[in-house]
């Protein structure tokens, strides 16, 4: 389906997806997705469980290569370039930060968690790493809570803190695209609000794809929202329009109003 977009030419699209289909072991999980994500905005994705949201994100950074039985067809372009034309998928993934539904504090110290990505890229100097670690933890609104214990284990932080650590780690990749998969599922409302504030600020520097199970979160943050339903893209609409009852499809309206099924 074609999607109406009104973006200045200069801004362009960070992600362009055309006729994307995803399957696992031959069973289709998502099909016929065509959409564009403009640069430097928050793009919301909502939809019930099993609708293919996570699969969609995995296709963007080529995690299909690491997932047994996952097949992707159609085209995904990141910053104008087909992701399958990257001979080095690791370089592609470095440009894309990912945050998972459940926080993943790696079994390293807080410092090492945030420094890991830079180290993998060959940064060795302690002074450089210090700067990166502090900047990313600050931007993830975690610095004040952990600055005195950077040497303790990241995996022992509370769930909400670990989720911000995950965000700090994603930011340490200096990504141009940030993919968030239901980040608030294991996080209390106060932390969720703090992270949402962080995201609103980050928008000016990177493109954010926000998969969320809270439709109100999409409403608060996203300029445009896509509605996925059982392996199909129902529509992409300006978020305000969608929530004001202007959705193109009655199923979308039913879903955002919580009257589903």
């Amino acid at each position: 389906m074609s999607v109406p977009v009104r973006v200045s030419e200069a801004a362009g699209f960070a992600i362009e997806v055309e006729d994307l289909a995803i399957g696992y072991h031959g069973k289709p999980a998502l099909s016929g997705v065509t959409l564009q994500v403009p640069t430097q905005e928050i793009f919301g994705i909502i939809g019930p469980a099993n609708s293919g949201k996570t699969s969609f994100l995995r296709a963007i950074n080529r995690m299909d290569l690491m997932t047994a039985g996952m097949e992707v067809s159609g085209s995904v372009r990141v910053e104008g370039r087909d992701v399958r034309s990257w001979r080095n998928p690791y370089a592609l993934r470095q440009r894309i930060g990912v945050v998972f539904p459940l926080p993943v504090g790696l079994p390293l110290t807080i410092y090492d968690n945030v420094a890991l990505s830079s180290r993998l890229r060959g940064t060795r100097k302690k002074a450089d790493l210090d700067v990166i670690v502090e900047r990313c933890l600050r931007r993830a609104a975690l610095w004040d809570e952990v600055k005195d214990r950077l040497d303790s284990l990241g995996s022992l932080l509370s769930g909400g803190q670990q989720q911000r650590l995950t965000i700090a780690r994603a930011l340490s990749q200096d990504p141009s695209i940030l993919l968030l998969d239901e980040f608030s599922i294991a996080v209390d409302p106060v932390t969720t609000m703090r992270i949402e504030e962080v995201l609103a600020e980050l928008k000016s520097e990177m493109t954010i794809v926000l998969v969320t199970n809270l439709v109100q979160q999409a409403r608060r943050l996203a300029s445009r929202t896509a509605f996925f339903l059982t392996g199909e893209l129902v529509e992409v609409t300006e978020t305000e329009t969608m929530f004001e009852g202007g959705a193109q499809d009655p199923r979308t309206t039913a879903y955002v109003e919580g009257k589903f099924g």
Binding site: A91, Q94, F100, L102, L106, L120
Partner: protein, 289 residues
């Protein structure tokens, strides 16, 4: 008020019964171990002395010590480890971290588990054919240790694979999503968290290797050789074979000697297992998630 129903009471009785049954079985398990140890200590204890541990056997092995056998066992185990651990760990890394999860991989995994069940005498004949004769190592420590290595490889692989699999997939996925390669992920996250488990497996393997008799009998262990081995192409005595020989093949061995050898052998094994248990406790104390 809550009243216990007849069903509740029955459940409770059954619960108690099973508890007792399992406790009883556990005692049955401990009993033979305790008996073996007790007999060995009582009957072999008097044989243990400085001289017993550190001198050559004399008078057709009816007197003197067991030094060449002790040293020989250490040689055999160390060379077997050097041969099997790098190969086993690498194979386990490949099978669990790189190999696609397809029918071939599953078949290979199954084959490895079955290989662990091959009787050691079969390994002995394989070692004789392959290492002694085909590769012309002769009957030597090298041939015997390689035979032991082949025999214990499946154990190393299975132990390593199991400890790799205790590291949650979410950690790997987080690394991959950051652009880390599989090797970077293994080096930074997987191996550091699996290493204690791998070491535990290796130590258990050592204790098993040191007690094996059949695989070394045709391939490198000698009945009687009152010299210390000078290199891997020498033959050597070994504790397990020595025990077999003086208990069955040599007349007029004083009673306490076989028990003494057995006691030393089992002490080695228990010490090794003790270290492995200590590792596991250490590992649990350091669990990072």
């Amino acid at each position: 008020m809550f009243e216990a129903t007849a069903q509740n009471r029955r459940n409770r009785k059954v619960e108690g019964l099973f508890r007792l049954l399992f406790l009883w079985m556990t005692c049955m398990l401990i009993l033979p171990v305790a008996l073996i140890l007790g007999v060995l200590i009582v009957r072999g204890g008097p044989a243990i002395s400085w001289e017993f541990l550190f001198t050559q056997p004399i008078n057709n092995m009816t007197a003197g010590g067991i030094l060449p056998a002790l040293v020989g066992t250490v040689w055999l185990v160390v060379v077997a480890l050097i041969a099997s651990v790098p190969v086993g760990v690498a194979a386990a890394l490949y099978l669990s971290e790189y190999a696609p999860d397809n029918r071939l991989t599953r078949a290979i995994n199954l084959a490895i588990i079955n290989l662990a069940g091959v009787p050691s005498i079969v390994h002995a004949l394989f070692g004789l054919g392959a290492f002694v004769i085909f590769f012309r190592f002769g009957t030597s420590i090298l041939a015997a240790s390689l035979t032991l290595a082949v025999m214990t490889l499946p154990v190393v692989i299975v132990a390593t694979r199991e400890s790799l699999q205790t590291v949650p997939l979410a950690f790997r996925e987080a690394c991959w999503n950051m652009g880390a390669t599989r090797w970077q992920t293994i080096r930074k996250i997987v191996l550091p968290n699996a290493i204690s488990g791998i070491l535990t497996g290796v130590i258990l393997e050592v204790s098993r290797t040191s007690g094996e008799t059949a695989p070394i009998m045709f391939t490198g262990a000698a009945f009687f050789l009152p010299f210390l081995p000078q290199g891997v192409l020498d033959q050597t005595m070994a504790m397990s074979l020595h025990l077999f020989v003086i208990s069955t093949q040599v007349p007029d061995v004083p009673e306490h000697m076989p028990f003494g050898v057995a006691l030393v052998l089992i002490s080695m094994v228990l010490a090794m297992n003790g270290i492995s248990i200590a590792f596991r406790v250490y590992l649990r104390g350091r669990k990072k998630w």
